[in-house]
Symmetry: C2
Subunit: 135 residues, 2 copies
């Protein structure tokens, strides 16, 4: 099962990150594929410090990360917590050539930050059937 989920995650070019806003509404945002994935438990993204989702995660770290493939009707929702990291080590670890386009000041650009998601459980949908998995 975990192998199928890992394969699905690796095949997706985008992920949908969910947060809860200050009024209790769920929010969604598509992001480019994560920069780093460790099993299905730990997933890292890079993003803009100034974004609304970063602000929301700072106020409420409850999160989910959703990957799906519309062609094969497979999806996985990972539920857990999102940590906003702004330290040099995390930012350097995720930095990639070409990121200067978005962050002109480079790896120390104040608008460049890192999101580290840690999953607590997952709900996997495939073959017209859903299954819950503790992680």
């Amino acid at each position: 099962m975990l192998e199928r989920i890992e394969k699905l995650i690796a095949s997706c070019s985008t992920a949908v990150l969910c947060s809860v806003d200050e009024n209790g509404y769920p929010c969604a945002k598509a992001m480019l594929a994560p920069r780093r994935v460790e099993g299905v438990k730990e997933i890292w993204f890079s993003t803009n410090t100034s974004s609304q989702s970063v602000e929301r995660y700072r106020a409420n770290d409850k999160a989910s990360v959703y990957f799906y493939d519309a062609a094969t009707f497979q999806g996985v929702m990972l539920r857990g917590v999102m940590e906003v990291r702004h330290d040099a080590a995390s930012r350097e670890a995720l930095w990639q050539e070409g990121d200067e386009v978005y962050y002109p000041q480079g790896v120390t650009d104040p608008d460049y930050c890192v999101l580290r998601f840690v999953a607590e459980n997952a709900r996997f949908y495939a073959d017209f059937h859903s299954e819950d998995i503790m992680l």
Copy 2:
């Protein structure tokens, strides 16, 4: 702006529906394109009465519906409330030929129900820029 959003919605074969679970975590679920769209304000889906998302919307109607096109980097998050409808009129209005595959008892199948989403506001992302719209 609203015209661009309507066009984006019409072009998407799937939508991501977001809810908040009993522990306060945001949840996401991909669904086939809505059965009915009235402007960008009112969006109708059909789904399984027994699904977790229906249970969550019954407990907490705060919702969002997210459409995005990875190819053109456009996305819209509609925020509002989700109503679960199980009345005959709503179910008949949304029923389509072929639904028997999922609901063998037809339009009165107890597992067939309707979700009516009413948007309060939207956040539209396009051209590397986000904009908020009151609806």
